[in-house]
């Protein structure tokens, strides 16, 4: 069964009827099970489960410490370019948006990498907009080659690639791949992506699987909460992760839980995902997939991130700048904040985030992988 077949399996599923038939008793019963089914996971995403958040939190916290310990992996994103050929209606990089388009030169990549490495971080996520012309795979591979000396783990969040291209980037030194489906609702997806290569729902949906086949060590999936009904997108994100982990047991599968900020300008979210809902999603995910990593972005405000650090999250970004070359041209960036892909809510430095974690009894981990390529030995 492909992931698309899994998604379509639930196409006619009556979610509202399932939720109205689910009460606190059903939720408690799921919390007592040693292993959850897909519908058990959906039970934990139900409105009724919102009444059981403390019990879920206790279980999620216990499972996180058991499997990941009192630690939090820190990483930071680096935007290599913001050229884009898509018109995603919710994204700051939309090709119709008038903003200064640029891409980093080799020298700028090296300089920005060195600036980040001084913070002590060894895990980096590199990103581009969706433009095969401006930022082809060869450009990304070259960037990875430059950054390899400063980072032991390089993640990739770019447009969907072919299996052969993932193989090429693994050989260039990229370890992990992140791909958000944005929404698993095929109809809503078409409306949100009116033009550009990203419009191809299937090519994007299957990208994480191609990355697994291409030899990535880690693959991270997720939906952008708020684009469609959040409970369904949360459900399918979990199913997607479970599907990949079952089929590719040697790949570390993780899930991100980005949400649209309810009060940010621009495109209004279809559904408001409040803090309570986000917490419910994180807890349900941890209980359903006890060993999967969960990544929390700096879209969330500092105070909320502090509280979520103990609720199942295993990986956090820190010292984030979503503008291209933002760390090289800091003064410029402050004046033109809107050039970022999205507005970040937690602007703390790596050291500040690390201090916050230590105060909570959580060890910030800066390095959790070792380069094994022969040239590195």
């Amino acid at each position: 069964m492909s992931i698309y077949e899994k998604v379509t399996h639930y196409r006619d599923f009556d979610f509202p009827a399932f939720f109205s038939a689910t009460g606190v008793g059903e939720v408690q019963s799921v919390l007592n099970k040693p292993r959850l089914t897909e519908l058990d996971y959906l039970t934990l995403l139900s409105p009724a489960a919102a009444e059981c958040l403390e019990a879920m939190a206790q279980q999620a916290h216990r499972l996180t410490i058991q499997h990941f310990g009192n630690t939090m992996l820190l990483f930071t994103p680096m935007y290599l370019a913001n050229y884009c050929t898509n018109q995603c209606v919710y994204c700051g990089f939309n090709m119709k948006n008038e903003l200064v388009r640029k891409k980093l030169s080799a020298a700028e990549i090296a300089a920005e990498g060195a600036a980040i490495a001084r913070s002590g971080l060894r895990h980096l996520l590199i990103l581009t907009g969706d433009s095969r012309h401006e930022t082809p795979v060869s450009y990304i591979a070259a960037a990875a080659g430059i950054l390899r000396k400063d980072f032991t783990c390089i993640g990739l969040e770019v447009y969907a690639l072919t299996t052969a291209e993932y193989v090429e980037l693994v050989a260039a030194g990229i370890d992990e791949m992140t791909m958000f489906q944005e929404t698993y609702n095929e109809v809503a997806y078409a409306e949100l992506h009116p033009a550009g290569p990203k419009r191809d729902y299937h090519f994007r949906l299957n990208a994480p699987e191609r990355a697994c086949q291409g030899g990535m060590r880690g693959v991270n999936v997720g939906a952008l909460l708020g684009l469609d009904d959040w409970r369904r997108d949360a459900f399918f994100s979990g199913l997607h992760a479970d599907y990949l982990q079952k089929k590719y047991p040697d790949v570390e599968i993780s899930v991100s839980t980005p949400r649209m900020q309810p009060h940010a300008g621009g495109f209004p979210p279809k559904t408001i995902v409040g803090d309570k809902e986000l917490v419910q999603y994180l807890l349900a995910l941890r209980i359903y997939l006890p060993r999967s990593g969960i990544t929390l972005s700096t879209r969330e405000p500092a105070l909320l991130r502090d509280a979520l650090a103990k609720l199942g999250v295993t990986k956090m970004s820190a010292g984030v700048c979503t503008a291209v070359g933002g760390r090289l041209h800091a003064e410029e960036t402050i004046e033109t904040k809107d050039v970022g892909q999205f507005e970040i809510s937690d602007e703390r430095s790596v050291a500040e985030v690390a201090d916050m974690l230590r105060r909570q009894g959580i060890q910030p981990v800066y390095k959790n992988w070792q380069v094994l390529a022969k040239k590195a030995q």
């Binding site: 410490i65 058991q66 032991t152 060590r217 047991p249 790949v251 060890q363 070792q370």
Partner: protein
């Protein structure tokens, strides 16, 4: 029965004075590791090479390992024999010594080891002069092959890593203890000091514990408890615990008069 006065554990030619080995992952801060090691009375300490930042020699996890410990780097993160071998060589090149705990896991759902790749890695690294301690699913045939390949000890799991579920594989571990002419070190799954004592009572040469200590409310107190339990279990093994029977055995037999 072994002589308790000559109860020396030797691995790869090294005399090891503690039968409790410790892992260093999952702690809330590396700085508590020296206190944990001291409280446990541990000597062999394992560290995931992938966690060591050699670019920060003043501030990496190795600085938290007491100098009198035997450092046993592990190949956590390796998905096959080739990756495990590369990690082992990097560890040796970085000055971490010749001990290597082989951990090859290609299954992120259960974190169970890949015995075949573990065997291949053992063959490669033992031939290169490493003191190889392979972590494995308890299987007699593989354990025999590991020993033949030059493993210095064999480390079967009691239950999946981090599960704290105890000696779920007890019957298989007993067979390894009986049949394999190498120290058998129970690694993974031990959640409580009583379970560590049980492994030692069975005749395990040592146990390796990490999650149970690191995730305890008081890791230092738990480390001490494990240290005591391992000693108690070993003493019980050496003292020759009575056989377990299915029926009661009266200390004043009913048929005793027949001997008169």
């Amino acid at each position: 029965m072994q002589n308790p006065d000559c109860d020396q554990l030797t691995i790869g030619g090294c005399e090891v004075n503690s039968r409790l080995f410790l892992g260093t992952g999952k702690y809330s801060a590396d700085r508590i590791i020296p206190s944990v090691v001291a409280a446990a009375g541990a000597q062999v300490v394992t560290v995931a090479l992938r966690r060591v930042d050699f670019d920060s020699p003043q501030d990496n996890i190795l600085t938290s390992i007491p100098k009198d410990c035997i450092l046993m780097p592990n190949t956590s993160g390796a998905r096959n024999a080739a990756e495990a071998a590369r990690i082992a060589r990097l560890a040796r090149a970085a000055g971490c010594g010749d001990w290597i705990k082989i951990e090859v896991i290609a299954d992120n759902r259960y974190l169970l080891p890949d015995n075949l790749e573990t065997l291949k890695a053992t063959e490669i690294l033992a031939a290169e002069g490493f003191i190889v301690l392979p972590y494995m699913s308890p299987d007699l045939s593989i354990a025999r092959r590991l020993a033949a390949a030059g493993a210095a000890a064999v480390m079967p799991l009691g239950a999946p890593i981090g599960s704290n579920r105890g000696l779920k594989t007890k019957e298989l571990i007993k067979i390894l203890i009986e049949e394999i002419d190498r120290p058998i070190i129970v690694d993974a799954g031990i959640g409580r000091p009583s379970e560590a004592a049980e492994a030692m009572e069975l005749g395990a040469a040592a146990v390796l514990v990490n999650t149970a200590v690191a995730s305890a409310t008081d890791p230092v107190g738990m480390a001490e408890a494990f240290g005591l339990a391992v000693k108690a279990g070993r003493k019980a093994f050496l003292a020759g615990a009575g056989a377990v029977r299915n029926q009661a055995c009266a200390s004043s037999p009913l048929t005793g008069f027949l001997q008169e």
